[in-house]
């Protein structure tokens, strides 16, 4: 019952008051009402707004920063940084802040869809959630009953922590080894595997480094964690620790935002990063600036050596013989004075760090170039020491459950993965897109039926792959394609079943810090807003499917839902007697110093722990997660896991795979092929910060400001040197076709003096407002590094013409 003012007065004046309304009217009278003011009328919808701030973590890029959602009346109205998260420390990137626009994106799918017409026709029939789970159970169960569980495969994009563990455990218990990653990769794990025998991507102690020499690493843009780099960039001097603010030096072929904000930017000719790195090494060796004690104690392959196979050239000889400064200068275009100055600065440090990025490693000799860059760290001993290259560790979570295998699973697993990985491509299970590509090739090459069910989790290979036509061919051979994408994309169009995941702000998940961060940090993602009625996250769908498949599959995944799974895993943190729920800067530093001295005071000291596991879990969830801020620099063995127990500058594994007459550091001898006729410009694809995966349309806020140019928005662009563009008759903003021997796409020409004359810088992952893809990767020549399997982004040539 509700009244407006007139009805209210009428009711009073008439003296006729319905009994049911009596208390409401009495309430209205009791309130102070001015003669002319509005009469407050109670109405359920007028309850005062309820505001909450809830800690969670961002899942839109691999950085996985801590966030805090501002929720008003159940709506997520804003995303702030979580100041307690040790990596992001309250900072945020534009993509993280724009998450609210993803949450309310009009295109999101809220119910499962079953294909109703032929593939690609776009006709769908909605399905209940239970129906979708039943369908999956039925199809996967049938496959298993027929003794062919190995014919199920998973292609997973951004997937880390318990979600990845869950997929892997599900597949293993089910009986398939076909898990392929389709995510960001920069070959860092291959470098670690080759030189250190460590199956993990490198961690960088950016917080304590004083000189960061980056070879093509997009530190402030689309790196593992742009926020980690930004926090280090913005940190204050730490006088007591002898750590002034770091200097950043950027070596690259592309003048990027990172280059713009570095203290020094060094533009090199394409594909000469490694030559410059070894030119620096030459000066370090010549001027005796290397850390001789470190090399003698922990490194092999520096000096020449001989074994049963005869004498071998060591690193020192290889570099001194080939990388004379004048020749390096001629090859790279960097002056002799600059090379020498760079080398001296790197040696003077005191805490220098060389980082290698995708502009270097996504090349036919990418791993070797990565080794050349990383060798600088080894030369000055910047390994396992403050400000150097470190190796992080996973948080000590309890396992999901013991995996039990039945005979079907054992036989399925015995088949091994369909797609054999590259020799250095599998460290830590985080290497990239290329394993996805290998899976596509394997599906297309094997007999039909080798994959019966393909599950796609945050993977859109028809848009992101270098060779989408191979994926199209592969998908055509798979009878059941299931996508878990919450948005329609190129690949969902070819799927048979879409079971949309919940959005990152609606579900329980965990978010371990990326491997580039040295300390184990485990953020908890929790629902900030209610999901659509009845909707299930992919994790819960998987757990339900496992449960209904029964037997050993159910026994291996015994948790009712993701929340229960996370809570069970957190028992490992509770029992580890180390680390703490996220705390402020003081608490974190206190904890670090205590642990350094061998103390552990209950976690969350000085506030004190206590209260058993449930209290611990509550603290972890409310603060946003758990972290251990202590790194043991004295444990150098973590970085020396090779069979010899030493860091291998001339890795035996790599040498074995090279031509007999070639060494790993022969870049300068290799002639670079000239541009093919008709394609005068080198294509340099790169990721934009806001678009690390680039498989969905941009949020409007990001589309208004996707790049560093004030006049570039909404429409994909390519960066061309103004002189080059003018010689082609392309004015600033002109629409153009970018064409290689393998394909073409449309983009706007942006005159940019930061582009070299013979290079086209092409951002990757953009779309036109009408949805048309503008993907430079689909123009690539198909070259790849045989050692890592990563495709080459740096060897394709294009020409531009007006569109």
């Amino acid at each position: 019952m509700s009244f407006d003012r007139r009805q209210f007065l009428f009711a009073l004046g008439g003296g006729v008051v319905a009994g049911a309304g009596l208390s409401e009217i009495a309430a209205g009278l009791a309130a102070p009402t001015g003669l002319l003011g509005p009469v407050p009328v109670p109405h359920p919808a007028w309850a005062p707004g309820v505001e909450q701030r809830v800690a969670s973590a961002c899942l839109v890029c691999p950085s996985r920063c801590g966030i805090r959602g501002r929720i008003v009346d159940g709506r997520l109205v804003r995303i702030d940084g979580n100041p307690l998260h040790p990596l992001s420390q309250g900072g945020l990137c534009p993509r993280g802040a724009a998450g609210v626009q993803m949450q309310y994106s009009p295109g999101r799918l809220t119910a499962p869809l079953l294909r109703a017409g032929p593939r690609g026709a776009g006709r769908w029939r909605p399905l209940s959630w239970d129906g979708a789970v039943s369908l999956l159970v039925e199809r996967l169960g049938r496959l298993r009953a027929a003794g062919g569980p190995q014919a199920a495969a998973v292609l997973a994009g951004y997937c880390a922590g318990s979600m990845e563990d869950l997929w892997r455990q599900f597949l293993r218990a089910y009986g398939s080894a076909n898990y392929a990653a389709d995510a960001y990769a920069d070959g860092g794990d291959a470098v670690m595997a080759a030189m250190h025998g460590v199956a993990r991507r490198p961690a960088y102690d950016l917080d304590r480094a004083t000189l960061v020499l980056s070879f093509g690493a997009p530190l402030f843009e689309a790196w593992w964690s742009p926020v980690q780099a930004a926090v280090a960039y913005g940190r204050t001097e730490r006088i007591r620790e002898g750590a002034p603010r770091p200097r950043f030096v950027q070596v690259d072929t592309r003048f990027s935002r990172t280059a713009a904000r570095s203290s020094e930017w060094i533009g090199v000719r394409p594909r000469t990063h490694a030559i410059l790195a070894l030119g620096i090494a030459y000066v370090l060796i010549r001027e005796a600036l290397v850390d001789a004690d470190f090399l003698a104690a922990h490194v092999s392959g520096y000096e020449d050596w001989s074994d049963a196979a005869g004498g071998h050239e060591g690193y020192r000889t290889a570099v001194l013989r080939r990388y004379r400064t004048e020749e390096v200068s001629a090859a790279t275009g960097v002056s002799v004075e600059r090379i020498v100055g760079l080398a001296r600065a790197f040696a003077a440090g005191p805490r220098s760090l060389a980082i290698c990025g995708p502009d270097v490693t996504l090349a036919p000799d990418g791993l070797l170039a990565g080794l050349a860059v990383h060798s600088l760290n080894v030369l000055v001993g910047s390994v396992s020491r403050p400000g150097g290259v470190l190796v992080g560790e996973d948080p000590p979570l309890a396992p999901i459950a013991a995996v039990t295998l039945d005979d079907v699973a054992r036989r399925g697993l015995a088949h091994g993965p369909l797609a054999a990985g590259a020799p250095f491509g599998e460290g830590g299970g985080e290497t990239g897109a290329e394993r996805g590509a290998a899976l596509a090739e394997a599906i297309a090459a094997r007999s039909p039926g080798s994959v019966q069910a393909l599950l796609l989790y945050y993977a859109n290979p028809l848009a992101s792959a270098t060779r989408p036509e191979r994926w199209a061919a592969a998908l055509a051979r798979v009878p059941l394609v299931v996508s878990f994408s919450p948005f329609h994309d190129e690949t969902t169009r070819q799927a048979d079943l879409i079971i949309p995941d919940l959005l990152p702000y609606e579900r329980w998940q965990d978010a371990p810090a990326p491997a580039s961060y040295p300390y184990p940090a485990w953020a908890v993602v929790r629902p900030l807003v209610a999901p659509p009625t009845g909707a299930l996250g992919t994790a819960d769908v998987l757990l339900a499917v496992a449960n209904r498949l029964g037997g050993t599959v159910a026994a291996s995944l015994p948790h009712p839902d993701m929340h229960a799974l996370l809570k069970a895993r957190a028992r490992g943190l509770f029992a580890a007697r180390r680390g703490m729920p996220f705390g402020d800067a003081f608490a974190t530093e206190y904890q670090r110093q205590m642990e350094e001295r061998g103390w552990w005071l209950g976690g969350g000291a000085p506030a004190g722990g206590g209260g058993g596991f449930d209290a611990f879990w509550t603290r972890v969830v409310e603060s946003g997660g758990w972290a251990d801020p202590f790194y043991d620099y004295t444990d150098g063995g973590r970085m020396r896991r090779t069979p010899s127990g030493r860091i291998e500058l001339m890795p035996a594994d790599v040498r074995r795979r090279l031509q007999p007459d070639a060494g790993p550091y022969d870049f300068i001898a290799r002639a670079e092929p000239p541009a093919p006729a008709g394609y005068p410009l080198r294509l340099q694809p790169y990721r934009v910060s806001t678009l690390a995966s680039g498989t969905i349309g941009l949020e409007p806020w990001l589309a208004e400001r996707p790049a560093l140019f004030p006049d570039v928005y909404w429409v994909p662009w390519v960066e061309v040197n103004p002189a080059t563009a003018r010689s082609l008759g392309l004015e600033d903003g002109a629409p153009a076709w970018v064409t290689s021997a393998h394909g073409r796409y449309r983009a706007r020409v942006k005159h940019f003096p930061g582009a070299a004359r013979d290079v086209v810088n092409a951002p990757y992952g953009l779309r036109h407002p009408d949805g048309e893809l503008a993907n430079p990767l689909q123009l690539l020549d198909g070259a790849a590094d045989p050692l890592t399997g990563l495709s080459s982004w740096a060897t394709t040539f294009v020409h531009l013409e007006r569109a």
Partner: protein
């Protein structure tokens, strides 16, 4: 009486534009259509300005986040015929939307191009309506809008401090851009309060203000080695 001001350390800015997006999210800034953006009508109260010089490989590019300068002697206030834009006692230049007649004199007077005009009624599709900040009014067609140093947060901070019976602290009132900045390049506070970092940073030898010669007395200071 506090005098709110901002210090932006350009030597710490990576140009990531987190401040821009955080501001749009906080202040319900409408997204204009792409063809309107082509006419320079996109709105961004906080805008990272860029300047590119030189040619490859000797390219230089600098960034400067540009909020409203919140001048102590604001040219926009002087030309407003209806007193829609005003200088508050605490130094914040505000805009009263119902009073604004859309003459755009203030936009022309502002040397920092910090004022934006609503050429059309902003479109608020359901997808964007859902995440509107309930503390900030949306603007109709035909009025100017501008950065307010997140004035609404100041009101809340004062009320919270009063309720808790304590004076306002530096951390109580921070605008959205300063909150989001991952490098902490944006520092905000009371320029006259020695306990606030801005009061010392503004006297840093690197400190400078935009177009000081105009006598606008901006309360946004930039720190840069290069100036």
């Amino acid at each position: 009486m506090p005098r709110w001001g901002m210090v932006i350390d350009l030597d710490r800015c990576t140009g990531c534009a987190a401040c821009e997006v955080a501001c749009k999210s906080e202040n319900n800034i409408a997204t204009v259509r792409p063809d309107q953006a082509d006419m320079g009508r996109a709105m961004s109260w906080m805008k990272v300005e860029t300047k590119i010089e030189g040619d490859f490989p000797d390219t230089r590019l600098s960034f400067a986040p540009r909020p409203c300068m919140q001048c102590d002697n604001p040219p926009c206030v002087k030309v407003c015929p209806v007193s829609a834009t005003y200088l508050s006692p605490e130094g914040i230049v505000g805009q009263i939307y119902p009073r604004c007649i859309g003459c755009r004199y203030c936009a022309n007077a502002c040397p920092y191009t910090a004022k934006y005009f609503n050429w059309f009624a902003p479109a608020w599709p359901d997808s964007e309506r859902a995440h509107l900040d309930p503390d900030v009014s949306v603007r109709p067609r035909g009025v100017m809008e501008k950065c307010t140093f997140c004035d609404h947060r100041l009101q809340q901070a004062k009320e919270n401090a009063r309720a808790a019976g304590r004076p306002l602290r530096e951390s109580d009132f921070q605008p959205a851009c300063a909150d989001a900045c991952p490098t902490r390049a944006i520092v905000f506070g009371d320029l006259d309060n020695p306990a606030h970092r801005v009061s010392t940073l503004k006297n840093d030898p690197r400190a400078t203000r935009l177009m000081e010669s105009l006598g606008t007395e901006p309360k946004v200071y930039y720190l840069t080695q290069k100036a």
